[in-house]
């Protein structure tokens, strides 16, 4: 049999995981079927804020197939009605006396099948006494507002925390000294990840008291630790298995009440219990992102150089802060907001408020507020260019941090690793024929047609993170790889991360192939089972390649160190005479004398040097020295129907730079998906609440995921500026496009509306909002 292709770094290797997915043989949580398994469904509150007067279980318990009803009072007896959030706040598993948001879980119904469980939920009688709901975070912070978290002793208001960074006085004086200053209020509404697979789990307790939970989680190890701390179960008796995950995007990082109730139900009934939430439950209670009220201003000199930036933000976190930010940074990495430009002064402050909404500010293909930052700076850069009568491309090119300035210390405390911002923008301008588009636009304007061109030149920050600054609930944000080479030269590698579609089984195998000289087909990658995989913080915030990918490379290099000694032993030379070249151990200067890693692996178990341990394996827990800073420039071209407000995206060119690319095909796929999740909130998606606090987008009829028809035809290109500190030069890429794209769309639409002089429309840019903006200026 011929040796398969190596499939190392830079090759568009076909995805290994596809073999099961295209046959319908993926193994998602809902595919787990166990003998005697029961089903959990959840009753939810129709009120955004109410006292629970009584929960009457009788009709539910009389419903055929229903076995149990679990309420907050039941959990309270076991001290499980509350649980911690990843931000050291507290959230309810089930309420004992007060519901905090429309759609909150109120009781669990356990039945013999899903239909019966749904019947039981429909039959449950709950008496409520509605309370005034606080929906607007500004009103929540106003004096005299009803206090939402009355469970917290001494809590007299709805303020959660204040966080600030930068030099306030220097920024004030720099803004005062600026020739031009633009200010804008930008609201980024509540949005929802809506992975096509909702959340769910199967909980099982065996005769030895071991709890196994198959769970839709992006961070199984962290979940195990949290479960152990909350439940008091010994950690070795908890096994979290994250099987195939049908999309995560950060929505599968938090612990939701359903998981905990399922575990309780399994413990209570002695049966395995499955909970799979329906879409409405998913859309009204899980993992919302954004809900950020940003007030930003930036200044420039009259010759067009940026000076200072000041931002004041109010974050609506709902009734609890359940985000997954590093504990030192409650507003995430929002202070990347100076973006691709060398601001000399900046000051950022964020306040967080409780409202009667579900936990917000969590994730939408970006969990650390980087999207909010990139959106704000790229929107303001366009407004400033307009104010200065400069072309927005020219204005950016004039201001970019130059390539020779890296590593670049930002005024708010980051050290950008590498970048070539002008290179990316120039490439995008060439591909889209920027100068021609501007000519076309000028001609169209004369005819009264609305065409717009929008740019976004974002800087991302991913790969959390260095343990000196990054932890979640105290657990440092390293990640891990454990690699074993079997005697026949085949490899099993396990990681602390967890793919949800990013193709780790392929990408990690390519890193190993490159580092070990073993073909990808001979490498198996496993993740997601806490009984077997090494501890890690999981996959979110584009951290897998920067952390676990680096761990893979380092672990391989540890193996190579030992392997070189075995090779020397086999080739009967001193280890000093061995070099790793062309994916083999060669005797220096004698290319014909060599051993492959497979040769060495066999020897590691059959003929290893005396005094050396047998075997060939290594573990690495990688603590990155810095974050990585991917970047890119996007250009959107839109046509606006001025009568209807409809926006058509004619072209969208995305030039990305994520450093060394491991699999170009997969990276392009990540960009396509990220762009679509940048387009969606810019143009379609929003979870609106009415004045009474009701969620107005509780199904896909109203929460508008784009189809293939609305989604623009993406055009992608790359530049490559490796990270100097990552062992492979790679940066993360999963979220770049989601971070970068929204501003390009809004800038394009506002550019089209330039004749009307409109400085902002809050996203999503629905026909209604665009029509309103035009009509406010031209009511005929």
């Amino acid at each position: 049999m011929a040796t398969p292709e190596l499939g190392g770094i830079g090759k568009s290797v076909q995805r290994k995981e596809d073999a099961r997915f295209i046959r319908g043989k993926g193994n998602y949580v809902d595919d787990v079927q166990l003998p005697g398994m029961l089903f959990l469904d959840l009753a939810r509150s129709p009120y955004p804020h109410a006292k629970i007067l009584a929960i009457r279980k009788e009709k539910t318990l009389a419903t055929p197939g229903v076995l149990a009803v679990i309420t907050g009072k039941d959990l309270e007896a076991a001290k499980l009605s509350w649980m911690p959030t990843l931000m050291s706040d507290t959230q309810m598993v089930l309420p004992t006396d007060t519901v905090m948001f429309h759609g909150q879980e109120v009781a669990g119904v356990v039945a013999t099948d899903r239909y019966a469980a749904a019947d039981g939920v429909a039959a449950l009688e709950v008496d409520y006494e509605p309370l005034p709901a606080v929906i607007d975070p500004f009103k929540a912070l106003a004096p005299g507002a009803p206090v939402i978290r009355t469970d917290k002793k001494d809590k007299k208001d709805n303020h959660i925390w204040h966080w600030e960074v930068g030099d306030k006085a220097a920024t004030e004086s720099a803004l005062q000294g600026s020739d031009v200053v633009v200010r804008e209020k930008l609201y980024i509404p509540r949005i929802h990840v809506s992975s096509i697979e909702t959340c769910g789990c199967v909980a099982q307790v065996d005769a030895m008291g071991k709890l196994t939970v198959w769970m839709t989680t992006q961070a199984p190890h962290a979940i195990r630790t949290v479960f152990a701390l909350v439940s008091g179960l010994p950690e070795q008796k908890i096994r979290i298995i994250s099987p195939d995950i049908g999309g995560g995007f950060g929505g599968k990082v938090p612990v939701y009440p359903g998981y905990v109730i399922a575990v309780v139900a399994a413990l209570t009934t002695g049966h395995p219990v499955k909970w799979v939430e329906d879409r409405t439950g998913n859309l009204i209670s899980d993992s919302f992102a954004r809900d950020y009220h940003i007030e930003a201003e930036i200044g420039a000199s009259k010759d067009g150089h940026v000076t200072a930036l000041r931002v004041k933000t109010l974050a609506d976190h709902g009734y609890t802060d359940a985000a997954a930010n590093p504990s030192k940074f409650p507003a995430g990495l929002f202070h990347i907001i100076t973006g691709s430009y060398p601001f000399k002064a900046a000051f950022v402050e964020v306040d967080a408020a409780y409202t009667n909404k579900p936990p917000g500010g969590i994730a939408y293909r970006c969990s650390f507020r980087v999207t909010e930052a990139a959106f704000a700076i790229e929107r303001l850069m366009d407004n400033l260019a307009r104010q200065l009568h400069l072309d927005p491309a020219e204005f950016r090119l004039k201001n970019f941090i130059p390539p020779e300035a890296f590593p670049f210390p930002s005024v708010l405390g980051w050290t950008y690793d590498s970048g070539n911002y002008a290179g990316a923008l120039r490439k995008a301008m060439e591909i889209i024929h920027y100068a021609d588009l501007r000519k076309e636009q000028a001609e169209k304007r004369k005819r009264g047609e609305l065409m717009g061109i929008g740019i976004s030149s974002f800087t991302e920050i991913v790969g959390a993170g260095p343990s000196k600054t990054f932890d979640i609930l105290g657990i440092k944000m390293f990640d891990s790889a454990e690699i074993r080479i079997h005697p026949t030269g085949k490899v099993l590698a396990r990681f602390g991360t967890k793919s949800q579609g990013q193709a780790h089984e392929t990408t990690y195998a390519q890193i190993l192939a490159e580092e070990l000289g073993i073909p990808v087909d001979y490498i198996s990658v496993e993740e997601g089972d806490t009984d077997t995989a090494p501890y890690g913080l999981g996959t979110y915030a584009s951290r897998s390649t920067p952390t676990a990918g680096a761990a893979a490379a380092i672990a391989c290099r540890k193996i190579r160190e030992k392997a070189a000694k075995i090779a020397a032993h086999l080739l009967e030379v001193s280890p000093d005479d061995i070099e790793w070249k062309d994916y083999k151990f060669q005797v220096k200067g004698v290319p014909g004398k060599s051993k492959t890693m497979a040769d060495v692996a066999f020897a590691a178990y059959t003929n290893h040097p005396q005094g050396m341990e047998a075997g060939l394996e290594a573990v690495d827990y990688y603590d990155p020295p810095n974050m990585t800073f991917p970047f890119g420039s996007y250009i959107a071209v839109v046509d606006v129907d001025k009568e209807t407000g409809q926006v058509h995206t004619r072209r969208f060119v995305a030039v990305d730079d994520c450093g060394t690319i491991i699999n170009p095909m997969i990276v392009d796929g990540q960009i396509h998906g990220g762009l679509t999740m940048g387009f969606a909130p810019a143009m379609l998606e929003e979870i609106p609440y009415d004045a009474d606090g009701n969620n107005r987008a509780s199904s896909f009829l109203e929460y508008l995921l784009p189809t293939a028809v609305e989604t623009p035809k993406w055009e992608t290109a790359k530049t490559t500026t490796p990270s100097p500190h990552h062992p492979l030069g790679a940066k993360g890429v999963g979220e770049s496009a989601t971070v970068g794209a929204p501003a390009a769309f809004v800038n394009a639409v506002l550019d089209a509306l330039e004749p009307y002089g409109i400085s902002n429309i809050d996203i999503p840019l629905t026909p209604y909002k665009v029509w309103q903006a035009i009509h406010a200026k031209d009511p005929k």
């Binding site: 899903r114 239909y115 749904a118 019947d119 429909a122 329906d278 879409r279 409405t280 009568e643 209807t644 409809q646 379609l684 609106p688 107005r696 987008a697 199904s699 896909f700 009829l701 109203e702 508008l704 784009p706 189809t707 028809v709 609305e710 629905t766 026909p767 209604y768 029509w771 309103q772």
Partner: protein, 291 residues
């Protein structure tokens, strides 16, 4: 999300279906395509005691033309409209609408009869049928009667259909020379109900004057709306830009939209105006032999 229990019947004749409706005294629902009904049952918005599945009644899914009418059987699928050569050639408005209802998979199941009889103001075909001057054959224990589409819709989910009646056929008068029709739907995305949608049929006489016009509006009121004043206004006009602008304003005034995530009352009314004008132009172009 799962539906509650119900009794299930699959009659093989219309008479049998009507008998079952009578027997259940308003507690039964007809299951045709089920693309709205099953979803509403899963959301437990409706809990019928029985479902009467009419998909096994033979010869109820035809689309054919005789000397007077285009006849569409109740269980013809909405995709059949867009796929039908006859419809595309002679009733392009129904091909327009047939390509815009929900999404292509839903249209494989959703029926023309269900779309027109459900009484949801967001359904696309009622406005078309109003524009076309169609009538519905409704059958009950006492036999068949016909109800003009323009008189069928009473309120949201309330129609002229009695509790033990079933809509069996849609009849569209055959178009004469000089007929042009079109449907335009403004939607936020595929699968959405209309922000506003407009159905138009015009008949232009050989001198170029508009002989008759019918304008129906989707999702801008409690039911589909027949814009009578606008339709009447166009009679005898030549179809100048000014004629269309005035007609569009009259159609706008006939609409009674509510506020929802799609926009305000003013916005939706203005969209009725814009799309009436645009759709009239398309229909007039088609009347003159254009696409």
């Amino acid at each position: 999300m799962y539906p509650p229990s119900f009794e299930y019947y699959a009659p093989t004749t219309v008479e049998e279906a009507i008998g079952l409706l009578q027997q259940h005294e308003g507690e039964a629902k007809i299951l045709a395509g089920g693309q709205s009904l099953v979803a509403m049952m899963k959301l437990r918005l409706v809990q019928p005691a029985a479902l009467i599945d009419i998909n096994r009644i033979p010869n109820l899914s035809y689309i054919r033309e005789d000397d007077k009418f285009l006849r569409i059987g109740a269980t013809a699928r909405t995709n059949d409209l867009a796929d039908s050569e006859l419809i595309r050639r002679r009733y392009p408005i129904l091909a327009d609408a047939g390509g815009e209802i929900a999404d292509p998979i839903v249209r494989n199941r959703g029926t023309v009869g269900g779309n027109v009889s459900h009484g949801d103001p967001g359904n696309d075909l009622p406005a078309c049928m109003m524009a076309l001057g169609a009538e519905y054959e409704v059958r009950g224990a006492k036999g068949a009667r016909t109800v003009p589409a323009r008189q069928f819709y009473q309120d949201t989910f309330v129609t002229a259909l009695g509790p033990a009646e079933m809509l069996t056929e849609i009849r569209v008068p055959k178009p004469g020379p000089g007929t042009g029709n079109a449907y335009s739907k403004m939607e936020r995305k595929v699968g959405d109900f209309a922000t506003a949608a407009v159905a138009v049929q015009v008949v232009v006489n050989p001198t170029g004057a508009i002989q008759t016009a019918g304008i129906g509006l989707t999702n801008v009121g409690a039911t589909a709306i027949y814009a009578a004043a606008a339709s009447e206004f166009l009679k005898g006009k030549s179809g100048t830009d000014a004629d269309l602008a005035k007609t569009a304003e009259l159609a706008r005034d006939a609409s009674q939209p509510g506020v929802d995530n799609r926009g305000s009352v003013d916005f939706k009314k203005d969209m009725v105006r814009v799309w009436t004008r645009r759709t009239l132009r398309r229909a007039l172009d088609r009347a003159k032999g254009g696409k």
